[in-house]
């Protein structure tokens, strides 16, 4: 799996991702069910950290966030 695919898997798969957008160093995602997150998979994908508040989950990925977000959107 490439990094985008790993992140999608870590966020519970494509059908769990309601919305995703990038903000310079982080992906802001809205998930259908945030309990489906697999933090270990996300860490394996090289993310710096995961911050949850309800359905909104921020994944800190570094400056490649814009590119990653469009790669991820292609997978949804």
């Amino acid at each position: 799996m490439n990094q985008a695919e790993q992140i999608v898997a870590g966020l519970g798969g494509p059908t769990n991702i309601v919305e995703i957008e990038a903000c310079i160093t982080r992906l802001r995602t809205e998930l259908a069910d945030s309990s489906l997150i697999d933090e270990r998979l996300l860490k394996d994908a090289g993310v710096h950290g995961v911050m949850r508040s309800g359905a909104v989950v921020q994944v800190v990925v570094g400056p490649e966030a814009d590119t990653l977000a469009s790669d991820i959107e292609d997978l949804l």
Partner: protein, 150 residues
Amino acid sequence: MLRVLSPVAGHSVAVSDIPDPVFAKGLVGPGVAITPRDGRQASVAPITGTLVKLHPHAYLIVDEHGHGVLVHLGIDTVHMQGAGFELLAHENDAVDAGDEIVGWDPSYVAHAGHSPVCAVVVLDCDPATVTQRAVGVDVEAEELLFEVDC
């Protein structure tokens, strides 16, 4: 040693005290935040380098050694979709520390319901290498904010 200048004039605060958990926990990297002075102003480049990312509310400059410094103007200001921000430079420009990058007004951000506090963060850097962190003092734009050796 990388010298990071303040992009705005204001009052410095610990990044751990700002209302953004990702910055506050240092997930992006260590840094310092500034409560900016009110009024229309230009936010400047904190270091010399290449402006690799430029959004209305945030920008990232990477120096010749690969150090990246992120300036984020206000909290959750991505939701403003650029309203009230004016780009004064272009993505991929070579910029000198102190060059004007984004025109904005912190009180406009506050009226839009967001904190105007600015985060200045060094990416992928060990917090232990940050020195001379000026926190709780007034700073001018282009004044030395902190130094980092990583």
